[in-house]
Symmetry: C2
Subunit: 420 residues, 2 copies
């Protein structure tokens, strides 16, 4: 990415918790940044997470003091983790002879809404960053946090630091946002499940978003969403590899020179799935909408929904859906109380299966390539894997399978589509 | 102190590092505050330090990354310690059913100058504290830190949290400022040196200031100075004793009902003393002023100065002074380079003695009590202790003695003046 750009192009580099997890690692990152700076990349901004384990330590402390700690206090305690990282990184850059300035959200004006612990960024004032660059200073910015209009500290929740980095990149008009992490990039499948998984070098935002949503852990859907919305290219690379090492570029594929994207980019696996089945429901669509409204009201996210209409002449239907495991009990409770409230005559026959997983094939090329669904089903069938539920969209096919067969399903699909 | 005041009087309570050193201790403090709140003391503000050891951990981290870390980064890292304490204390109060709100300096407007790591408070905006009280909320404030006009985080240096607390008490017009610590109050001597040392229940600001400056570690001179300047009573008490336990009250003694202050309040011991001697200086006062200017320029604090004029007809003089041990080398270096610069003909005969200590007797009553000096000298003489230097003021007599005899000197003076 660097090779194709002017050196004065603004660049935002984000370093995650493992990348700043020790004094040595912080020094390593500082050396890299300093050498790029001396090489002419003078318009860099660095976003850092808390050192690995630090956020968990702080959360545990707060919970020990008060399991139901007020959100304001919780966020203030947790945000101190990034504060330390920012200060240490600025100090490490100074040791490398580069001027750097640490910034917290209130100093930079990273304004969020006031939903503590899951705040969303509203605006970023880029002026102080630009002032830094004018003075030859590298700004080092705390990820994962913001301030409300009334100066209260907020944290952004899951995927927060990556989101901070992409938002900052957008605010300063960066050429791209680099996410430095502990893996080389996004892979066609989890290499721990499918050892021959390949690094995806170029990825469309849409595919990245699907893969992130479907269980690939490298990028969080939220930061990909933001990147897609503002067309901010995201580069995922390994902090501890040389600068010419392989990496993943996520961008609008139309802007890439290499348009030969494969029809399927990757296979994802999500083990955190519960399958809930309701059998013998009266054939009445108001029941279906009422049920899902009741479940939504208790804040449970429903993922796949499979709705079997009755056979001609039949009077009952089946309904299946998936949630994350942590939320399945709540969903069942909501369904039951809806049943009671609606004064249904029959018993509600509801079961939960926690021993399933979701395997998906994802790729923007699927739109124009016929037969992806057929290949999916036959690959699974050949491997002797029953499909329990199916859900499709324009760029993915998801299958719910037995938990115990999930790895085999990944391998079968990866070999059918990627290594083929 | 509580018994003599209206319950609506504003009170600032400060809890030091050992008082918030663990989750259990934080809970203990929250229980005390909550019970006082329910008892009607609704106008309380709580100031907290970092948990014991936390500041040292953060300083070590910064130094490891960069031994000469920029002050801005250093302060930002170190200030995170109080941020965690404030959040935890607010959460602990919430667990006790009391509404509390955590505040950092930038949220409250604790504005300092920009001398990082030793900033001095310029102003405190009390409005948000008063708003809290109007809403029935207890504000919990981070000690030891402030912000500059341009929103940079500063720390206040030694004695910082106590100073924050006293400054806040002044800003909100508190009835008094309570310093909660791990000892019962200020003692007539260090109980580890003189076991029969007594708690001083009432102390004048002036005596407290002298005792703090002369080596009593309980209160820092800086916070006593501030208290004295604005006549803000300071109560020193043990966090872990019942509310009716003994304590020390520091205030303008004229405002106390009990005016029978003893002539000597206490005996202090300072082991961090170096004695520097210059022998055979030419008799020329410009040399003396030149020497001390040179030493002041390198930032060394000189404490006692003893200047022997030559005997009639003599042409040389002796000069002795003390500094802290850490600064004695710098002082010698400055003296030597002054000597070279002034093109003195003779050799400079300068020696440093690090094996001395300073013992002082302090008391506002000394002014009107004759014979304190005589008693001091004879007590030391009877104990077989040579006095190496003497320095007196209206309310103290300090003697420099051999380090090895310092404890014996304390005992002798304490028995002569206090337990008599």
């Amino acid at each position: 990415m660097y090779s194709t750009m002017q050196k004065l192009t603004p660049v935002v580099q984000k370093y995650g918790g493992t990348s700043v997890g020790s004094v040595d690692r912080i020094k390593h990152v500082a050396k890299r940044v300093a050498s790029q700076y001396r090489d002419g990349w003078t318009h860099m901004a660095i976003v850092v997470s808390a050192m690995t384990g630090e956020t968990n330590r702080l959360v545990a402390l707060v919970k020990e003091v008060n399991p139901r700690a007020p959100a304001k206090a919780y966020d203030m305690a947790v945000a101190s983790g990034e504060q330390v990282s920012v200060a240490l990184m600025a100090a490490a850059l100074a040791a490398e002879g580069v001027q750097a300035e640490p910034f917290l959200s209130h100093q930079l004006g990273i304004v969020t809404d006031s939903f503590h612990s899951k705040a969303r960024i509203r605006s970023i004032d880029s002026q102080k960053i630009i002032d830094c660059w004018d003075r030859g200073v590298i700004p080092v910015v705390a990820g994962f946090q913001g301030v409300t209009e009334s100066m209260e500290i907020t944290t952004l929740g899951r995927g927060g630091s990556d989101t901070s980095a992409v938002a900052l990149a957008i605010a300063v008009g960066a050429g791209f946002c680099e996410i430095n992490t502990d893996v080389d990039g996004v892979f066609s499948c989890d290499p721990r499940v499918v050892p021959e998984a390949q690094l995806i070098e170029d990825m469309d935002f849409e595919v990245a978003l699907e893969m992130a949503s479907l269980g690939s852990k490298v990028l969080h859907p939220r930061c990909v969403e933001l990147g897609a919305k503002f067309q901010m290219p995201i580069v995922v690379r390994n902090t501890f590899t040389p600068d010419d090492h392989r990496r993943t570029r996520v961008m609008n594929l139309a802007s890439l020179t290499n348009l030969e994207a494969p029809s399927v980019s990757g296979v994802t696996l999500d083990r955190d799935v519960a399958k809930i089945t309701l059998i013998g429901l009266p054939y009445d669509t108001s029941i279906v909408s009422g049920l899902f409204s009741a479940i939504a009201e208790v804040g449970v996210n429903v993922d796949i929904i499979v709705h079997n209409l009755p056979e001609p002449g039949g009077k009952t239907m089946h309904l299946g859906f998936t949630t994350s495991r942590g939320e399945s009990d709540q969903a069942v409770k909501a369904a039951k109380s809806f049943w009671v409230k609606s004064k249904m005559q029959s018993q509600l026959d509801i079961t939960v299966d926690n021993s399933v997983a979701k395997v998906s094939v994802v790729g923007v090329g699927m739109r124009s390539h016929a037969g992806v669904a057929a290949t999916t089903f036959s690959a699974l069938q050949r491997a002797g894997i029953d499909i329990r539920m199916i859900s499709t969209s324009e760029i993915k096919i998801s299958c719910v399978v037995d938990q115990g067969l999930a790895d085999a399903a990944c391998k079968a699909l990866h070999s059918a589509f990627i290594t083929g």
